[in-house]
């Protein structure tokens, strides 16, 4: 029986080749999107699931409350680690990791700054299990010892047998020489523990200079490159340790501190982008949920085509059903037969999708984690997802048409009384409206997102961003000063400033301040920029009142921005000039007020800000090029000066406008993604409409013939067919406008500075969709209307 069904299904697919093509293409787009998203989800959910006793592994995370600012961090103060080891009974093993990014040199060969290196103790290897090829964890008990992975060993000493790598010397930052004491295999399986090089923690412990630089003894140093991974004893509740953490840290912090400390289970680390894990890419679940919703929409669009075309075809299939019923087919076997057909269709769509996946992975490289590749098809969770998807899609798309078809009364069918196309026309209209609502809402969203991106790029930032670049100097003030002097002589350079960050910068540095004659601002965390006297003119920042800073080595004079002056209760900028501001308890005069400028992307409001001098924090060199300067040549000259001063460090300048663009990375990605989704949605919807139009004209061939004999013009027939579609698209436009307005208004609240949704978005999106829909339908109607009526009437 099943063979009989599959045979009729395949022959029917072939007979209605074009409709099958429409259905398969529509479904395959949704299926392939679902497949790719599932691959990403599975990839992200399968991180660090292979560890022995992984269910007892945790990392310490802290929620630091600075009153005005909450910081979530995985950083751990180092004294806490010893305290935990000696005082907590519930912990079986504590691994203390200290990430390190040294500038590596072996002999005369330079490797530059290498990531994925960490200080570690032998205990780490008791928590995370590695396979040791040479040596054992004990080697890390001594200072100046390093353990490499196979890959790192091969990178450092290409072609050298591993046995001979042991004992070789590696030099960090031109000052620390360590010798290779062990080699391990990298962890197999997906993991965020992808360190390549472990340096004995004893190296830091035995070097007072390094300890001081890293705040070794401070209970208040929550540096995110210092992490603790621990394993609890069986049966110990993590909440118990949370309480112990608070009890251990409390005596060393402010009495009224509201900081919270807790253990985060291993399996949640990869899924918590709010707390970084040594800079690893983490999964962003809300983004995955949104992508999931998009997939559902795409599957829905394809499914709607299937339902529409299948019920439109019902009239043609009805005869077969009538015969089968008279031969003894029960209702359920008709349902089974047509469900079978939709499964066959879904299977074809799945095959097409599998072929599409590599193309999708390539097209969306920027959105997809690197580890997600075609090779994942070998994992059963991905492999079995395909038949599961076929089953679900086949069932959801097929169940309704199957029941519609099974309900036909055989006697009516055999008496030629069934007109499938009319009886279910209302449903098809509803489905078509839903389809176009989705497509239209996507068009509207795309327009609004791109209008907002245009706005953020055009908005005056309050400072000059073009032809300005900054570069982090690697230290040694004297050398930097010397280089600066050299650069002053370069004709292409207009001005140089030594300061900390550029006006807009992803990082923030904040300090406790009090300001305002009546104590409006008291001991609040306020953002601070460390600059020199050239910074304000270099970036073209306007001074609203008072004057610029004078050169100084420490915090001496202070500039505040207008927002800060206002927040401190001064009515005009002039009122703030000459007042005293307390920074970290020390009072300084405010000599000027600068006009507000954006310190972050348009997502954030301009915060109160203070600017002052501090010799120690001027770690970046800011350069403004002349307007007419030849940029590549100027860069060459700066690089030459850099190479002469810092031969061991790469010259990595950043242009201010490029750094600004990074604030909008996710918006740019969203716009791209929406653009794709919109295109696909319109494509699938129009494809479905085309299918329906072909059916409608085929069904009404005779009517068209009769109308033409009675004197109808080609134009009037095209109008007749286009009227319905126009109505449907207009209804869809209303629905979509509401949905899009609501959703995008919400999205825009994510920006402190945003556009108001322009009214023209809605009619222009509707007009676009209507044009496409009409073009699809009218072409078919035109074709039918051009046929000589003699032919269409004869064929009946």
């Amino acid at each position: 029986m099943i063979r009989n069904y599959i045979r009729t299904a395949l022959r029917n697919l072939w007979k209605n080749r074009f409709m099958s093509f429409v259905n398969i293409l529509g479904l395959s787009v949704g299926i392939s999107a679902a497949l790719v998203i599932w691959m990403i989800v599975h990839y992200d959910l399968s991180f660090d699931r292979f560890h022995q006793n992984g269910d007892r592994m945790y990392r310490i995370v802290s929620r630091l409350d600075f009153h005005q600012m909450i910081i979530n961090t995985s950083g751990v103060p180092i004294p806490l680690i010893e305290a935990l080891r000696s005082q907590s009974a519930g912990i079986e093993e504590t691994a203390f990791l200290y990430q390190y990014s040294p500038n590596v040199k072996i002999g005369e060969r330079k490797f530059g700054v290498l990531e994925k290196t960490t200080f570690a103790e032998p205990e780490y290897f008791n928590v995370v299990e590695y396979k040791w090829l040479y040596g054992s964890p004990v080697v890390l008990k001594n200072p100046l010892q390093a353990v490499l992975t196979e890959e790192r060993a091969e990178q450092y000493f290409p072609g050298t047998p591993l046995a001979e790598v042991i004992g070789r010397e590696v030099k960090y930052d031109d000052s620390i020489s360590v010798s290779v004491a062990g080699i391990v295999q990298s962890l197999k399986g997906r993991t965020d523990f992808d360190f390549q090089e472990f340096v004995s923690m004893q190296t830091v412990r035995s070097d007072l200079g390094m300890q001081r630089m890293r705040g070794w003894d401070s209970w208040n140093n929550f540096n995110s490159s210092i992490n603790v991974i621990l394993r609890l004893r069986p049966g110990v509740a993590p909440e118990k340790i949370d309480a112990e953490l608070a009890a251990l840290i409390k005596p060393h912090t402010d009495k009224d501190s509201e900081n919270k400390y807790s253990l985060q289970p291993l399996r949640e680390i990869h899924l918590d982008p709010g707390i970084d894990f040594f800079g690893q890419r983490q999964a962003n679940l809300p983004v995955l949920y949104k992508l999931g919703a998009l997939v559902v929409f795409l599957l829905l669009l394809g499914g709607i085509n299937f339902v529409n075309l299948q019920t439109a075809q019902a009239g043609e299939r009805a005869k077969e059903i009538g015969i089968r019923k008279s031969l003894g087919s029960s209702k359920s076997s008709v349902v089974a037969q047509f469900l079978g057909e939709s499964f066959v269709m879904a299977t074809f769509a799945a095959i097409v999708s599998i072929l599409l996946v590599p193309a999708i992975l390539a097209a969306f490289r920027n959105f997809i984690p690197e580890g997600v590749t075609i090779a994942m098809f070998a994992e059963w969770q991905v492999f079995l997802f395909i038949p599961a998807l076929v089953l679900v899609v086949g069932l959801l798309a097929g169940i309704y048409p199957a029941f519609v078809l099974a309900r036909f009364q055989p006697v009516k069918v055999l008496k030629n009384q069934v007109y499938g196309i009319n009886s279910k026309a209302r449903l098809r209209q509803v489905l078509t409206v839903s389809q176009f609502s989705i497509a239209l809402a996507l068009i509207m969203a795309t327009i609004i997102v791109s209008e907002q991106t245009k706005y953020v790029n055009r908005k005056d930032l309050g400072f000059a961003k073009d032809a300005r670049l900054f570069v982090k100097a690697p230290g040694f003030r004297a050398t930097t000063d010397k280089m600066k002097d050299q650069l002053e002589a370069v004709p292409e350079i207009e001005m140089i400033s030594q300061a900390y960050s550029p006006p807009s910068f992803s990082g923030t540095s904040s300090t406790t301040m009090s300001f305002g004659s009546n104590g409006e601002i008291k001991d609040a965390m306020v953002e601070m920029k460390y600059i020199d006297e050239k910074y304000v003119p270099l970036y073209g920042i306007k001074i609203a009142a008072g004057r610029n800073l004078l050169p100084a080595d420490t915090i001496h004079e202070v500039l505040v921005n207008e927002s800060f002056a206002k927040a401190a209760g001064f009515k005009t900028p002039e009122d703030a000039v000459g007042q005293l501001i307390a920074i970290n308890g020390k009072k300084h005069p405010v000599v000027g007020v600068v006009a507000d400028f954006h310190t972050k992307g348009m997502q954030s409001r301009i915060p109160p800000l203070a600017l002052s001098t501090d010799e120690l924090r001027k770690t970046m060199l800011h350069v403004a090029l002349r307007k007419d300067a030849d940029v590549p040549r100027a860069l060459d000259k700066i690089k030459a000066a850099w190479d002469a001063s810092f031969p061991d460090d790469d010259f990595k300048p950043t242009f201010v406008d490029e750094a600004l663009a990074r604030f909008y990375d996710s918006e740019v990605k969203l716009r791209q993604l929406l653009g794709w989704a919109t295109g696909i949605a319109i494509f699938i919807s129009c494809l479905g409409l085309l299918g329906l139009a072909i059916y409608a004209t085929r069904q009404r061939t005779k009517e068209i013939g009769i109308r033409k004999v009675l004197g109808a013009s080609v134009g009037s027939i095209v109008v007749l067919f286009s009227k319905d579609v126009t109505k449907l698209v207009c209804i869809a436009a209303f629905i979509a406008s509401g949905v899009a307005w609501y959703a995008m208004d919400k999205w825009l609240t994510g920006f402190a500075y945003h556009i108001h949704i322009p009214w023209w978005v809605f009619p222009s999106a509707a007009a676009t969709a209507l044009l496409l829909a009409l073009a699809t339908v009218a072409a078919q109607a035109l074709k039918a209307a051009m046929v000589n009526p003699v032919q269409s009437l004869k064929s009946e």
Binding site: N4, R7, T8, R324, S326, L327, G328, Q409, V411, L414
Partner: protein, 220 residues
């Protein structure tokens, strides 16, 4: 085997009703070959559909093999379509997507007959109707007479006790009609299948052993 008691059939039309059959009483015995005759619109096709369990009467009782039809559930009726009843239609009503062989095989598939038995039954029928050479052709590759032959083959392959034929030769020319009617007569005599046909033609009615005339929904 078939007994109709006071059967009526009407459709609602506007506020009134359109009567198609009025108080029909009829008995058909096993092994009979009955022809139902009457002018267009007299209700003979409706009567046949009621007999074939494709339509339900508005009033009256119908006993098929001694059982009350209106008390049967869908499953039981489907069961009868699978085994006891065969249909032959004026427009042949073959499944266009299936070959001759597959069309004949379909009723047996619904009976869940094992594959080997199915094959031999279909082969026997093809042999008997001289259609072995045409078994892999599709309906649209056959002439009308050949299609009706396939239709009859399909009707008898499941060995029904009764065949209902709705103007089986209506679309055929006289030579073809003659051979089809001879085939019906043979099935009736040799195989003992009860046959009920609707026809316009006195010639065709002559092949049967009883004529039921119907006029304006009543049996004369």
């Amino acid at each position: 085997m078939i007994q109709l008691r006071n059967i009526s059939k009407h459709y609602p039309v506007g506020f009134g009703k359109h009567e198609i059959l009025k108080n029909v009483d009829m008995v058909i015995h096993e092994g009979e070959f009955v022809s139902i005759m009457g002018p267009s619109g007299s209700g003979k096709s409706t009567l046949l559909h009621i007999l074939g369990l494709l339509e339900e009467p508005s009033e009256g009782e119908y006993l098929f093999q001694g059982e009350l039809v209106h008390k049967m559930n869908d499953k039981k009726r489907t069961q009868l379509h699978r085994g006891a009843i065969g249909f032959v239609f004026q427009a042949y009503h073959l499944i266009d997507e299936l070959t001759v062989y597959e069309n004949i095989e379909t009723p047996l598939l619904y009976k869940n007959m094992p594959s080997s038995e199915r094959k031999s039954r279909v082969a026997d029928i093809l042999d008997r109707f001289n259609m072995v050479a045409k078994k892999d052709l599709f309906p649209n590759q056959l002439s009308g007479g050949q299609q009706q032959l396939v239709g009859i083959a399909r009707a008898i392959v499941a060995e029904p006790s009764v065949i209902f034929a709705d103007e089986p030769t209506g679309n055929l020319h006289s030579d073809q009609a003659k051979s089809i009617m001879e085939l019906f007569a043979e099935l009736n005599k040799k195989d003992g299948i009860t046959i009920v046909q609707v026809t316009h033609s006195d010639v065709n009615a002559g092949y049967g052993n009883r004529v039921v005339e119907i006029m304006d929904g009543r049996i004369k």
